[in-house]
């Protein structure tokens, strides 16, 4: 698990670390912003006997430095589902219905500020499981 994270980070770190250094140097020490966008992949969650599901999120981390004060904000900008169960007709049917809205829900849930969701067991829990592990990784970065 740890190994795969490290590999992912090295790949993702190439993405876009935008450092606004030259501008701040020219205009004296005002607020300095560092924006890093990284991709985090959750664990592969099994969904009952239907197969596996995996969630990848893209997180934009903004570090604002004003003098000695440092403020970090993280924003989830994309959710993708690279691995999902589709080995039977039933799974395909369920996922066509379930996954598009679930993606929307994941993005919405962060603004609703909900810690947990109570509901019947299904793909959304596999989704939630993989999503949670991806979020936990993002918070460490």
């Amino acid at each position: 698990m740890r190994k795969s994270i490290i590999i992912l980070l090295t790949v993702a770190a190439l993405a876009l670390p935008i450092v606004d250094a030259t501008a701040t140097a020219a205009t004296k020490a005002k607020a300095k912003k560092i924006v890093v966008t990284k991709r985090f992949t959750g664990s592969v969650a099994s969904v009952d006997r239907w197969g596996s599901l995996q969630v990848t999120i893209v997180v934009r981390k903004t570090t604002t430095i004003t003098g000695t004060k440092k403020k970090v904000t993280r924003r989830m900008t994309a959710v993708t589902v690279p691995v999902y169960p589709n080995h039977t007709d039933r799974s395909v049917f369920i996922n066509q219905n379930a996954l598009p809205t679930l993606k929307a829900e994941a993005l919405k849930a962060q603004s609703a500020n909900i810690n947990m969701v109570s509901g019947a067991t299904d793909t959304s829990n596999g989704f939630e499981q993989s999503l949670q592990s991806a979020i936990v990784k993002a918070l460490r970065a």
Binding site: M1, S43, A45, S46, D48, V72, A98, T101, L102, A104, E105, K108, A109, A112, N113, I114, N115, M116, V117, S118, G119, A120, T121, D122, T123, S124, N125, G126, E128, Q129, Q132, S133, V136, K137, L139, R140
Partner: protein
């Protein structure tokens, strides 16, 4: 997968797949991994002992006639006894006996296992945590010192919404039963058919074992009976969502 606490969020979080379910543990106190290991070891023991999918579990051995019920582990006897009490309490709508004559206490085991997992945390001096097994959970204390735990109740028709939000700062079990997820996996044992006109039942109270069984039983009762039956429960509050989008809440249902 244990993760060190990030600066913005206290405690540790861990997710594992046990008992055929994703188990999400979110501790907001400072704690060491040992307590989490203890909790997940306990859940794995429960799975090995109670699973009807494992040939060498005590339940499978009882069902094959290889183990007498009175010789089973004390926890097994305790669970089976409670299943029988709950069959009476739910007018037979919760029944561990399957149509083929074997027993399947799974409907109680999950909640019971999480209740005892919460006790492990309590004994370790933890006061702020959530333990969720497949969407049924125990929450205790607060998410962070200034904020309560906020638990959304899945809207059964619109996956982008929650039907209610419960804020909890005490010790609470929350269980939801519905047919929207795995197809019609809850049946009315009296009619032999899936329940009619009902989308989901959420029960909150002290024990997850009881809340979960009540939710399953009330859901199996269907639209006619569930709102009335849940209104009579002692110490447990309910929210029932019917197919026509009527929502019944008992007087003390703690949503905001």
């Amino acid at each position: 997968m244990t993760v060190a606490a990030p600066t913005s969020l206290p405690g540790v979080r861990r997710v594992e797949h046990i008992m055929g379910l994703p188990v999400v543990v979110d501790v907001r106190d400072d704690c060491v991994g040992d307590v989490l290991d203890q909790l997940f070891d306990w859940l794995r023991w429960v799975d090995a002992t109670f699973s009807t999918f494992k040939d060498d579990s005590e339940i499978s051995r009882i069902n094959r006639g290889e183990l007498r019920r009175e010789d089973a582990h004390p926890h097994v006897r305790q669970v089976l006894d409670r299943c029988e009490q709950l069959r009476d309490e739910t007018d037979g709508y919760f029944d561990m006996r399957t149509p083929d004559g074997s027993i399947d206490p799974s409907g109680l085991v999950k909640g019971w296992a999480v209740d005892r997992a919460a006790a492990i945390f309590d004994d370790a001096g933890l006061h702020n945590y959530a333990v969720s097994a497949g969407g049924d959970m125990r929450v205790r204390g607060r998410a962070v010192p200034e904020l309560a735990w906020r638990v959304g109740i899945q809207h059964p028709q619109d996956r982008q919404q929650v039907a209610a939000v419960i804020e909890s700062t005490t010790d609470l079990a929350i269980a939801t039963s519905g047919a929207y997820a795995r197809g019609e996996h809850v049946w009315n044992p009296h009619s032999g058919r899936p329940p009619v006109g009902i989308l989901s039942v959420t029960i909150v109270g002290a024990e997850l074992a009881t809340a979960d069984v009540y939710a399953t039983a009330a859901f199996a009762m269907g639209a006619e009976l569930a709102p009335h039956w849940t209104a009579r429960l002692h110490g447990y509050e309910a929210m029932t969502i019917l197919a026509d989008e009527t929502v019944f809440k008992t007087g003390g249902f703690p949503d905001e």
